[in-house]
Symmetry: C2
Subunit: 338 residues, 2 copies
DNA sequence: TAGTATAATTAAAACGTTTTAAATGCGCTA
DNA sequence: TAGCGCATTTAAAACGTTTTAATTATACTA
């Protein structure tokens, strides 16, 4: 029903081939003819059919992005940045939300393959969710894939991330140096790479100061939101008396911790220090501004998209990888322990 | 390079036609043949080429969604819900972020048409951004379009939204009834439909109580974030002495207002009442829980997707529309004025 | 036994592009 | 004038499906 190249060609009294060449700015067609064709195309609002084009060209001009969720501030920003970079490169993007569920993720990957995406950006990263069969699927179909935000464990898949181990290491080191000893960590499941990296950083900091690491100080939450962190903190305060600090995996949770501590009658940081992660709005709007670790999401996104396109264009499964450095931002929620 | 239907057909010793029919569960092909073909497809990880399929079928199986941004809690949730509903219907979705910029929005629509999306969901709606030429483009290409979150002014384009006028009307009525008179409104530009509807609600409430509406109480912000609201409130407190209440267009801003008021030495709600909109997390985590208006985003999303598919499937440009009712949630940031 | 209805299969066209190789026309040169 | 090279143009195949109409095989009926 919509106007097609054949129609334009007929009107311009040229062949479809010429019309196609003209539309794509080929130097093969004469200046005069090109102008005539372009004018007609514009007048009739001709819009090439992307499916036909993709089929003929054997490339879709689309890349796929998988994120576990999109409602958190962090992933919202990530998606936004990646989207921008992908569009700027002249590509389309299919965004898919996995909810960290294996079945969903598999469906997504399958859909990506059906759509013949030219590359995939994978943000998720639950050891149990993103399993080998997904990777296998992408591999057999030769779809380049870059991990962003975290890396696929024990593999040399390319990735771009801000060093989570380093970030947590620096944060915990700083806390240890300022006299904290009992540092509780509200984290996610250890199956999630983004948590396991951080735990490594935590442990490394402790070991460097020649201190034991008490595994009971890791509190693995299955939900990473405000309410859950609040309740967890309430329970923690009741069961444990000697807490020097509580750190979390993101800023909303840190805010919840802060509020829970304060409404229990204790003070932040005088009694207990608090720190978050990501440097999102929540750490700034807290009644007591929260110490956090900043990740440059924009930079990470740009690098990830660049790397992916480098692989796509070179055709080489170059095992590039970019590990960016995080930045510790000290605010008022942490202070020297007496 | 990837395996195609022809390959499967060859292996099964049937024609491509039969293979296609089998893959699509047509009753025309015998049980035995179907099984054989499906088995081969599964073994060889055959994934049909969506572009070829779309081309042959003359339908892409894709719908497009435009939102102005994706980093705010509200739109994050909206995108998430719409995505879910669209996928459940067996469709793919292209998400595009317009930044409320006209040029970008035009490009997006053009891309949608190129991709031959079967329908479009438009969330934004700035009178200046979403102009007639966009709508015209969609119309000439016969792409069904449903507005979600707001409606296109002075047109009978189908829409699904939660009544913003009603929400603000109820909020302001409640404030007037509890003795507030000087109610300031931190809103967006009047060009944005979501603001102009609310202003109408505000005015309606005033008029009903037979009070004048002072236009200087509308403060049109060009950014709708925490920092801007904070600074605006600071300035407002300095320039105006008799403020009974400050209401905002979303919850982050209301939180900023609350914090700004409190750090200026005044009390909420004793001195100034505060109210937000959306019932997002910010209104709950405030040091003083904030009165707000709840919009059922899930319900709205479901309705919007349903309506769109109804139009797509019926082929009729049915001018359906759904106006949902908001709910006023009174919390501690508002109280009876002495 | 021929004819017919039914079930299963298939050939071929169509979808709207791109791209390669061939064709055409034209002005030059020798 | 024949031959050549160049600039344009084009025919036709290809991309991987779906779908329609035709074909074949099979069993049943009269």
């Amino acid at each position: 029903m919509p106007i097609k190249l054949k129609d334009i060609a007929a009107m311009a009294k040229v062949s479809v081939a010429t019309a196609s060449l003209a539309m794509n700015g080929s130097p093969l067609v004469s200046e005069e003819t090109r102008r005539r064709i372009l004018a007609l195309a514009s007048v009739h609002e001709y819009t090439p059919n992307a499916m036909a084009k993709g089929l003929a060209r054997r490339r879709s001009g689309v890349i796929g992005l998988v994120v576990p969720d999109i409602e958190s501030a962090y992933y919202g920003k990530l998606v936004s940045c990646i989207d921008k970079n992908v569009r700027d490169a002249g590509y389309s993007m299919i965004l898919s939300i996995s909810n960290d569920e294996q079945a969903v993720e598999r469906k997504i990957i399958q859909n990506f393959i059906a759509e013949r995406v030219e590359g995939v950006l994978l943000a998720p990263v639950n050891k149990k969710t993103t399993d080998m069969t997904h990777m296998h699927l992408l591999e057999t179909h030769k779809v380049p894939c870059v991990f962003v935000t975290s890396r696929y464990p024990q593999s040399d898949e390319p990735f771009v991330m801000v060093d989570l181990e380093e970030g947590t290491f620096r944060l915990v080191s700083y806390l240890l140096e300022t006299g904290h000893r009992n540092i509780y960590f509200l984290c996610g499941s250890r199956d999630v790479i983004t948590t396991s990296c951080r735990i490594s950083g935590y442990e490394k900091a402790y070991k460097e100061k020649i201190l034991d690491v008490n595994p009971r100080r890791f509190i693995e939450c299955n939900r990473l939101d405000y309410d859950h962190a609040y309740e967890t903190t309430e329970r923690l305060l009741q069961s444990q008396s000697s807490i020097d600090a509580i750190i979390t995996i993101n800023d909303v949770m840190a805010l919840a911790v802060t509020n829970a501590i304060m409404s229990s009658g204790k003070r932040v940081p005088a009694d207990i220090s608090v720190a978050g992660y990501d440097n999102m709005i929540f750490s700034r709007i807290s009644p007591i501004p929260i110490t956090t670790v900043m990740q440059d999401i924009e930079l990470m996104s740009r690098n990830a998209v660049d790397l992916l396109f480098r692989i796509i264009n070179s055709g080489i499964a170059e095992t590039g990888a970019v590990m960016l450095r995080p930045e510790l931002i000290v605010r008022e929620s942490t202070a020297m322990k007496a």
